[in-house]
């Protein structure tokens, strides 16, 4: 993209939030009228363990600049063990992305409980700042 | 069995009879003790009070020499030296950086893979009770012994790796196979204050006093030690205590290998029992003779 576009570029960040903790954490942030950047797009899933690594790859292919997977804290999973799978899965995922040339800062897995509105806000805000600093993602773009 | 042997400063002086008895016992058990050439002081009990690296480097040099000489095991009579060496090994093993730093300081390559044994380990773990029992020809029948381990042979547990940090039994068991009668007491792992008795006599004396007292209360006729520092504190200081604290201690104290050597048939003289401060020969004679009588009968 040319310079002008580069300047008015706003990152688009996709956030997978588990229905029981992180999604309600985001709701609570709303209830408390906490402000955070508009760049975040929340996609509701029942459990962070429902998030298939394929979705993340697809997001980056389609042009996501950052992806967040947020779930209940380990041990607090509504489905008792789901987020343990999430944790292991995305440790590996991070390495894969790194390997395929994607700045690991673009993908994050975080634990946000239904009570942690402030944590949700700071997490997404930080993520946005990081991504803005890194610039637009061109890796995997349009790969089919 | 062939072990590197690190006598340490005390065994060359106040602990000389410990050195003697260790060698006698080792000989009888077919253990070949080879003194580490040109060994140096391990720094106990002052280095760790002053400079962490110094406390690691001084023992490391000895261990490195032993390793270079091709030994895979070193036997260390003195509990303080034992503790310092084990600590050094532990820290070097847990961190490659530390190991490298140590090697750099001593100007030798320290592998930290040589096995470190106290003499309790040598007799208890390696030689074994049955083996010892087999060599007992003069049982110390009925001798009421309080086995005194002190601190450094059992603590910290991760470092010392003794049989138990709170109620070690290895020495008691050895005493039992010698025919002696190990007494149950409360101070077997209390600290004797090491060198405290020199710079802060009042404190050191109190610590030594409590140990002797508890042994006495529980009916011990003698105390067996596994460390020259403990030995000198408990043996040499009794006279002093009696003067300072108005006690009347007269409790013979032994290096535990002395008792082993005695039961193996060595004479008190060659072991050096007469070198003790608290006269111990008569007690030994009694024990041996009752033993002999029982055998005869």
């Amino acid at each position: 993209m040319d310079v002008i576009e580069e300047q008015k570029w706003e990152p688009k960040i996709l956030a997978f939030c588990c229905n029981w903790c992180s999604y309600s954490g985001a709701d609570l942030a709303g209830l408390n009228r906490m402000k955070y950047p508009e760049n975040i797009r929340i996609l509701r899933v029942p459990c962070s363990a429902r998030v298939n690594p394929q979705y993340i790859l697809r997001a980056f292919q389609k042009g996501a600049d950052g992806v967040l997977v947020a779930g209940c804290h380990p041990g607090d999973c509504h489905y008792s063990t789901g987020n343990y799978y999430t944790r292991r899965r995305f440790l590996i995922m991070k390495r894969l992305l790194e390997y395929s040339g994607i700045d690991p800062r673009r993908f994050q897995a975080r634990w946000v409980s239904g009570a942690e509105a402030e944590k949700f806000r700071t997490t997404v805000t930080k993520l946005c700042e990081d991504i803005k600093a890194i610039g637009p993602n061109r890796k995997l773009r349009g790969l089919k | 069995m062939k072990y590197a042997y690190y006598p340490g400063c005390s065994l060359d002086a106040t602990g000389v009879e410990f050195d003697t008895s260790n060698k006698l016992v080792a000989k009888k058990m077919g253990v070949d003790l080879v003194e580490i050439p040109d060994w140096n002081c391990c720094g106990a009990s002052s280095a760790h009070a002053v400079n962490h690296m110094l406390a690691l480097a001084l023992p490391a040099r000895n261990l490195a020499i032993a390793e270079a000489e091709g030994f895979d095991t070193v036997a260390i009579p003195c509990a303080a030296c034992f503790a310092r060496c084990k600590t050094t090994a532990a820290e070097a093993q847990s961190s490659p950086e530390t190991k490298a730093e140590i090697s750099d300081i001593i100007g030798m390559d320290y592998q930290a893979n040589i096995e470190i044994l106290s003499f309790l380990d040598v007799l208890g773990k390696k030689i074994g009770l049955d083996n010892i029992k087999a060599h007992v020809i003069k049982p110390l029948t009925g001798l009421k012994v309080a086995s005194y381990y002190g601190c450094l042979l059992v603590r910290p547990p991760k470092i010392a790796q003794s049989d138990d940090p709170e109620n070690p039994m290895v020495m008691d068991n050895i005493m039992a196979v010698l025919g002696a009668d190990p007494v149950e007491w409360g101070y077997k792992t209390e600290c004797c204050g090491a060198s405290h008795v020199v710079p802060v006599p009042k404190i050191g004396q109190q610590m030594i006093h409590d140990i002797l007292k508890n042994a006495q209360i529980n009916g011990a006729q003698a105390i067996a030690t596994a460390c020259p520092l403990c030995m000198i504190n408990l043996d040499m200081r009794q006279k002093q205590l009696n003067v300072q604290l108005g006690t009347n201690f007269n409790m013979p104290v032994f290096h535990f290998t002395e008792l082993v050597a005695l039961s193996f048939g060595y004479s008190p003289k060659e072991i050096g029992i007469h070198k003790h401060f608290v006269p111990a020969e008569s007690l030994v004679e009694d024990a041996l003779s009752t033993g002999a009588r029982r055998e005869g009968a």
């Binding site: 709303g30 955070y36 459990c47 363990a49 429902r50 979705y55 799978y85 | 109620n167």
Partner: protein, 660 residues
């Protein structure tokens, strides 16, 4: 072909103030499949819902997106609206414009752009929605309560009183658990047996309760409303139908062994009842020690039994039954302090005992007839030291948690000792005094007034010195070492989950927490439920508790059970996993990740493309058990298993829609 309707809600000004709703509605018109799009002031209002229903008819819509508040608020409302409007309620998606857009942003232009994106996502998803139908499963109106301590008995009684059948299982020869072993209960000091044994009798006589003592649950299958349970009853060697419980056999039995019930401080015969008020009040034979059963000699009990109830050839028996709900009430054990506390003597000093020993000692029906005596020599101790937190709050040696009841029962013990021993000294070593209960702190204060001396500090060492036990501590309030020459030491040992509770949990189908306690479904909002639907928790199996809390929790669990058993059938959530058997390879990985044991491998027979009959395994999901987490879907390599309502293609459409 989907005909999607989109409705943008202003929520008064809540959304409209920051999002240009008209613009969003306008933009939505351009989304693929959208046939109607509009904004409205309050979608959830009566007219709002009417507007949706009318539009469904008017524009022949078959899928709806409402963009308003969080679905956690009104998803259910609008699903009903669809149903009333003649659509399947699952042909619906909701966009969260309030909590996750208008309330968290202030820049109208940016917020509006985001809102358009969010609506586009929902539209993309709803385009892939399918009609879903919830099925119903029957509920067997019978409850199983495992463990007959005070919590288990209370739960059983409450459920039975509500008119439901209950089977109450306990592995011991008698029900009652630990409470009858206790002497008095804090803070009221009423006699523990006097209030627990009547409950035991009530349980035994209740027409709705079937008591299975000396029995164990060994296998659990099925799901909420339909648990198939296999229960083993151990060999009693006594026919409890014939036996009158006269007790003659017990008096005549020639062999005596230490009585577990008195923690080995007393003796019992080999044909025995654990204690006089045992329920059932009939003996069993201890096969490990019985002379007849071990050596073939003896046989006295059979000879003296007036009803000929003794059966040396008795064997264990099994039953299987179906239950609608299960209550876990397996209780606690005391931490084995002897294994780790060398500084306290590894249990080699006879006069260092646990709180439970003390309870038996002060208990009038206990081995000492209620007299506090030193186990070593039977003398009355003058100075007793009580040590709290032995095994509790000790992450280095034992358990890091607080056992909750110890502060109170230690206060009780100290009180009882000074009460029974006028010139006695009671010293209590503590770290904190935790008395958060009605009349608890007052009780502690009364113990202080009784003359018990509390010393703040953990004891470092106990050793025998002649006839005395020397206890070395620090009074951390003055920062000085203290030494007590005690005659007896009582340790308040930690509570740990009862032996075998982990295996039982696995059999039932859930996992205990790190310490082995049963994990509640939610620490605040679902404290008596487990992650497994239809399984509830009562008493200390969930974590350390005192009697009042255990009883209260038992009542709560009972209410949940009654709520469940009051229904004759349950509607299942249709958003569950489903397998496409044609592509399922039967690898079974999904089976291993499912936290609810909802997936099983099932063999199917079919014809392959050559027409040959082949039999192979495929994963099949039990809708009764599946809770719809979707963990299985991600592990499925051929992508055969998918989650209804959150299918792969639905989510991928959402993702893609953001960048089209």
């Amino acid at each position: 072909m989907k005909r999607i309707g989109v409705f943008i809600c202003h929520c008064g000004s809540n959304i409209a103030a920051t999002v240009d709703c008209a613009k969003v509605a306008e933009a939505a018109k351009a989304f693929p499949g959208v046939f109607f799009s509009s904004d409205y002031k309050y979608m959830c209002s009566e007219p709002g819902q009417e507007f949706i229903k009318d539009s469904i008819k008017k524009y022949d819509l078959n899928a709806i997106v409402v963009a308003s508040c969080t679905p956690r608020m009104h998803e259910h409302t609008f699903r009903k609206t669809l149903a009333n409007g003649g659509l399947n309620p699952y042909m619906f998606e909701m966009t969260n414009l309030r909590e996750q857009c208008s309330w968290v942003h202030s820049d109208i232009e940016k917020a509006t752009d985001k809102a358009i994106d969010l609506v586009r996502m929902s539209v993309a998803k709803v385009a892939k929605n399918e009609e879903l139908f919830s099925t119903t499963i029957p509920v067997h109106k019978k409850a199983l309560v495992i463990g007959a301590g005070i919590a288990g008995m209370q739960a059983a009684l409450d459920i039975a009183d509500a008119g439901h059948k209950v089977v109450l299982v306990d592995r011991e020869p008698t029900i009652g658990g630990k409470m009858p072993m206790l002497d008095k209960t804090f803070p009221t000091m009423d006699c523990s047996a006097c209030i627990s044994t009547p409950k035991m009798v009530e349980v035994a006589q209740h027409p709705n309760i079937e008591l299975m003592a000396y029995s164990e649950v060994i296998e659990v299958n099925g799901f909420i409303g339909n648990f198939d349970v296999k229960i083993k009853t151990k060999a009693k060697y006594v026919d409890h139908v014939k036996c009158t419980g006269c007790g003659l056999c017990e008096t005549k039995c020639p062999k005596k062994v230490p009585n577990e019930y008195d923690l080995g401080m007393g003796l019992r015969s080999c044909i025995y009842k654990p204690f006089p008020q045992a329920v059932p009040n009939k003996p069993v034979i201890d096969a490990q020690n019985c002379l007849k059963l071990t050596s073939g000699k003896c046989g006295v009990c059979a000879r003296v039994c007036p009803t000929g109830a003794v059966r040396y050839d008795d064997t264990e028996s099994f039953i299987t039954d179906t239950f609608g709900a299960i209550v876990m009430a397996t209780g606690y054990d005391l931490y084995k302090w002897e294994d780790v506390y060398g500084e306290y003597g590894y249990g080699k000093y006879p006069d260092v005992v646990t709180g439970l020993h003390f309870e038996r000692m002060v208990n009038a029906s206990g081995p000492t007839g209620g007299k506090i005596k030193r186990p070593s020599d039977g003398t009355t101790p003058k100075t007793v030291v009580f040590i709290k937190c032995v095994g509790s709050r000790d992450s280095a040696k034992a358990k890091s948690y607080c056992s909750r009841a110890c502060c109170m029962y230690t206060a009780k013990h100290a009180h009882q000792f000074v009460d029974k021993t006028p010139e006695g000294n009671a010293y209590v070593f503590y770290m904190d005094v935790r008395t958060p209960g009605k009349a608890y702190d007052e009780f502690y204060e009364s113990t202080l007034r009784d003359g018990a001396v509390y010393l703040r500090g953990r004891v470092s060492k106990i050793y025998q010195d002649g006839g005395k036990l020397i206890v070395k501590g620090e009074d951390s309030l003055i920062g000085k070492q203290v030494e007590v020459a005690a005659d007896m030491v009582v340790l308040a040992t930690a509570m740990v989950p009862s032996a075998g509770s982990r295996e039982l949990a696995q059999a039932v189908g859930f996992l205990p927490d790190l310490n082995g306690w049963y994990q509640e479904a939610h620490p605040k909002l679902r404290p008596v439920e487990t992650p497994t639907a239809g399984v509830f928790l009562a008493g200390t199996c969930q974590g350390p508790k005192d009697i009042p809390d255990s009883v209260a929790q038992a009542g709560a669990a009972a209410v949940k059970v009654c709520g469940l058993l009051s229904k004759s059938e349950l509607e299942t959530n249709p958003m569950t996993a489903r397998t496409n058997t044609t592509v399922c390879s039967g690898c079974g990985i999904c089976v291993s990740v499912c936290p609810y044991k909802a997936i099983q491998l099932q063999s199917i027979t079919e014809r392959d493309h050559h027409g040959h009959r082949i039999t192979r395994n495929v994963a099949s999901v039990n809708n009764g058990l599946c809770q719809g987490c979707g963990a299985c879907t991600v592990t499925c390599r051929p992508g055969a298993i998918d989650l209804q309502g959150f299918k792969n293609d639905q989510i991928l459409e959402e993702v893609d829609s953001l960048w089209t």
